[in-house]
Amino acid sequence: MEHLAPIVLIGGEKLDLAALFMIVLTSIVAFVLARLAIRNLSVENPGKLQNFMEWVVEFVSNIIGMATDFKRGKVYLSLGLTLIMYIFIGNMLGLPFNIITEAHHGHATFLGMELFMDGEEEAHFAWWKSPTADAAVTMALALTVIVISHIQGFRHNRKHYLKHYFQPWPFFFPINLIETIAKPLTLGLRLFGNIYAGEVMIGVIMGMGFVGIPALLIWQGFSIFVGAIQAFVFTMLTMVYIGQASIHEEDH
């Protein structure tokens, strides 16, 4: 059956407690992981986690190097690291299990707040999911980086940034505008679609009962792969967009 998101109404607005909870949890896990990695920083004798973290840094540096010029894209290293860590951890968190509460008699509460049940008598609330399996979350990430790319393009590369809307000819402006709008949409919805589909698929396989255990194993393995790939793709495209907008290459 359909799992509802645990939503409370605050001043007429719907607050998704599961999304809030998972966003905060993912952020905390990312931050704690990063802090653990740099707990015993050492130049000559790095620990395992430090090594891993440095590998991630190198990895993101290479992404930036592939997408743009690393020397000028260096300032976005922290952004790329935050993105890839947050998205990867978010993608992984939704995989292993789910927490579902059942509500009967048409109402349920959380810390004294009434959960929004859409008028149903019975409902199952899913408390655990990937934050990236929520279109609002992925679009928030996508719009954040796209806005950053536009701001940086306007600040550092104004002439070319403004000109590129009218290239190769001025009447291409509407097409360029559509492309500009499509960028955040594809960026956010690609991530959302992949992760959400993965979780829906896990739900479907769970419905098969014990027969589905091998399929579940395979699908979870595949989801790990997809989650890693999507985190990489998101970071890569972020750097490509920022590079396109703000770093003008001389040979173009």
């Binding site: 990063a34 130049v43 973290m53 840094v57």
Partner: protein, 161 residues
Amino acid sequence: MSFNWISFVIQVVAFGILYLLLSKFAFGPLFGIMEKRRQLVKDQIDGAEKSRTDAERYLEEQKQALQQARKEAYDIIELAKSTGSKQADDIVEAARSEANRLKDEAVREIESEKNKAIASVKAQVSGLSVLIASKIIEKQVDEKAQSELVDKYLQEVGTKS
């Protein structure tokens, strides 16, 4: 699946906060350490390169010093050899001239001895002859014979004139 604007705003804010926290408390120190390591590796490579060139230079210097020493030793030997032969020549020359001088001196001495001997012999011979003559004369010439001889000579003088 509805689009939840509250989640959207929460995510934007959460991402902003996460970015700031990570940059400040995690990536900043990490980048610093990585930069330090890069510097360390660079320094060590530079140091190794420097020691290598130093070693090469020292080796070259040592080679040259060895060459120099070898050359000096050779020169010294050569010098000693030539000095030795020269000294030998000098000694032989000096001995030869000394010998010549001694010989000449001896010859001169012999000559003068001979002359002296001859002179003394001559003197003795004349003395002896006078002595012998006086002895002979002393024995043969007496008054009678003398007066006879004188008479004879007077007579002869008288007749011849």
